[in-house]
């Protein structure tokens, strides 16, 4: 016979076990977490605004399983995206202003030189079970809008990023996908920092502002 005391002790254990079983049946979830260093570059003498839209700050990728042997995946990159881009842009420009409202919807800030709006257009991943190659990979494609403080377009361009990490003993798929995503974010930052002033429309604008002399910078 089971006593009331045994039942009280048993119930939380049973609930935990059921939750664990249910969690095992659901999609594999990765909330990307990492640390991102500031860039070692000479900041451009500009006051840049940045707008992280809801689609960007809450970016999440969902991939549904295609067969019984595969599991569905949810990869949440939004928080890590904001963390990386905030760190990067603070190092790239003399001053960075995080906007609280979408550009063009409120009173334009006269102190800003321009506003950058990043978007994640696409994210793909591959794990060894898909490719039979012993690396975990993440691809991302970004689209950037550079607009004036009152929302008029200056430039628009796309940029790819890629991160991979090798398989390792005692490492779960989730840990490896997280690391690959962190590498993809670092790659995005590196690509952006080294190519920003080479984007033709951005280069023209920087030259108009007198920030670039004539030839392209880094």
């Amino acid at each position: 016979m089971i006593s009331a005391d045994s039942m009280r002790r048993f119930t939380p254990l049973a609930i935990a076990a059921i939750l664990a079983i249910l969690a095992g049946c659901g999609p594999a979830r990765v909330v990307v977490q990492g640390t991102f260093p500031p860039p070692l570059i000479e900041p451009l003498p500009l006051t840049m605004g940045v707008w992280f839209g809801d689609d960007f700050a809450g970016h999440e990728f969902f991939d549904e399983a295609k067969g019984k042997k595969e599991s569905s995946w949810i990869v949440s990159t939004g928080a890590a995206q904001v963390q990386m881009w905030d760190t990067l842009l603070r190092g790239m420009f003399r001053k960075l202003v995080l906007l609280q409202a979408k550009p063009g919807t409120g009173q334009p800030d006269p102190g800003l030189d321009a506003i950058l709006i990043p978007h994640v257009e696409e994210l793909q991943y591959a794990i060894p079970a898909h490719t039979h190659v012993k690396v975990y990979e993440i691809w991302m494609r970004y689209r950037f809008e550079l607009v004036t403080p009152d929302g008029k377009p200056i430039a628009q361009w796309t940029m790819p990023s890629y991160g991979k990490t090798p398989t390792a003993l005692l490492q779960t798929d989730q840990e490896a996908v997280n690391l690959a995503a962190v590498m993809a974010l670092r790659d995005a930052g590196a690509n952006f920092a080294t190519h920003f002033s080479r984007v033709p429309a951005v280069r023209d604008w920087l030259q108009e502002k007198g920030v670039l002399p004539g030839a392209a910078a880094p």
Binding site: P37, L40, E42, K164, P166, A168, L169, A190, T194, P218
Partner: protein
């Protein structure tokens, strides 16, 4: 004094690449006879990560650094992650210099030149290669809670280390090794 230091560095790299408890061979080891010492400068060891189908393991790069530091206490080794973070974004897979001549272009960036001077980097060792596992037997299952089971397999490793002299912006040494061994895992 310097010749001894550089030879020690190269031998340390060779030893580190070999000392993974496996059967291994040095396929090639060449180096320039140096003319000056390491002094209080430092060495950084970095993994090449350009290939699409493999990646030089960060753990292996770290292991080589530990072996070098242990084998010669006079050599100061900067960890890979510390260096990559300090020099971000200039040594990421997309932006890392591929040839010693690229160093000059890199040093045109004033903050990079200042950081390199502060770190006193004299030698840069690039490690390229990977370890492939094959012929596994046993059963080892891993999940979020850890791993369970017993497994044995064969590891085949192939690594190449290239040493750059940062001041002279030239390649001063090259080591090629291959190794094979059978680790066992019982978590």
């Amino acid at each position: 004094m310097r010749a001894r230091s550089i030879r020690n560095l190269l031998l340390c790299v060779g030893t580190a690449l070999l000392s993974a408890c496996v059967t291994s061979t040095v396929d090639q080891m060449v180096f320039n006879e140096p003319t000056d010492g390491i002094g209080d400068s430092s060495v950084v060891i970095l993994g090449r990560r350009h290939s699409s189908d493999y990646e030089t393991e960060p753990d292996f790069v770290s292991c080589v650094g530990e072996h070098i530091a242990a084998a010669d206490k006079s050599i100061r080794v900067i960890s890979e992650l510390e260096f990559l973070n300090a020099l971000y974004p200039w040594f990421e897979p997309r932006t890392a210099p591929l040839h010693p001549a690229d160093i000059e272009r890199l040093l045109q960036q004033k903050p990079v030149a200042q950081k390199m001077a502060a770190l006193k980097v004299e030698y840069m060792i690039w490690i390229d290669g990977s370890t492939e596992s094959s012929g596994g037997s046993g059963s080892l299952a891993c999940s979020l809670g850890g791993c369970f089971g017993f497994g044995t397999w064969t590891n085949d490793s192939n690594y190449e280390a290239t040493i750059w002299d940062f001041t002279d912006q030239a390649e001063v040494g090259h080591v090629n090794t291959s190794a094979s061994g059978s680790p066992t895992c019982l978590p």
